[in-house]
């Protein structure tokens, strides 16, 4: 199985500041990688997914971007945060068509 490392665990950022959340994967190569956002008491909204280095697909229009500079590294970024960007961000990894996802421990972002 694979292990997802994600950081930072929590952060509080002012509106208009930049953001960088990082995720790395252990235990597998060439994983599919995902960024999800979870609003309080809600399900998981898929933001981005990647099937390989440099390949990013965006699921929803937003103030965020993602990059995959290395096979097992996935980064979520923003140039200027909005209040609505607050939430719990989860990085996940999966292999091919199996559907099973391994999640990182999440990053709780509060934008003030």
């Amino acid at each position: 199985s694979q292990t997802i490392h994600q950081w930072p665990a929590t952060l509080v950022q002012p509106v208009g500041s930049p953001l960088s959340l990082e995720c790395t994967v252990e235990g597998t190569s060439n994983p599919n990688l995902y960024w999800y956002r979870q609003a309080a008491g809600r399900g998981l909204q898929l933001l981005f997914y990647s099937v390989g280095i440099g390949q990013i697909s965006s699921e929803v229009p937003q103030n965020l971007s993602a990059s995959r500079p290395q096979d097992r590294q996935f980064i979520l970024s923003s140039k200027k945060l909005l209040l609505s960007d607050s939430g719990f961000y989860l990085c996940a990894g999966g292999q091919g068509w199996t559907g099973e996802l391994f999640f990182g421990e999440g990053s709780r972002l509060t934008v003030l």
């Binding site: 809600r42 399900g43 998981l44 909204q45 099973e100 996802l101 990182g104 999440g106």
Partner: protein, 112 residues
């Protein structure tokens, strides 16, 4: 697009009572996964169902996949306080990258 509805949103039970959460998809699914998220934690994979009419058991948990592959259920027999958390279903479509659509989850609380 694919939508996955999950009911109920909340369920409060007395310890020892049974619990069931239901998941319904607007489209036929290739597979369905179930995850558990403890309060403050991240989703953890429980199981995946692939075959029409499939039933799988994990100790007190029983998972079913409907004949039409559009619905699924998770049943917990004789709940324990350790069962508390939010249970999510995630339906896999037939697209690439193994993308799954998550339901909004059912949050279970167990009164001792």
């Amino acid at each position: 697009g694919q939508q996955v509805m999950q009911i109920p949103q909340y369920q409060h039970v007395q310890e020892g009572e049974d619990f069931t959460t239901y998941c319904n998809s607007s489209t036929t699914l290739s597979n369905i996964q179930w995850y558990k998220q403890r309060p403050g934690g991240h989703p953890v994979f429980l199981i995946q169902l692939v075959k029409s009419g499939e039933v799988k058991k994990q100790k007190r948990l029983t998972f079913q996949f409907g004949e039409a592959k559009k619905n699924s259920s998770l049943h917990i027999t004789a709940t324990q306080t350790t069962d508390v958390g939010t249970y999510f279903c995630a339906g896999g479509g037939n697209t690439n990258a193994g993308k799954s659509t998550f339901g909004d989850g059912t949050t279970l609380t167990v009164k001792p």
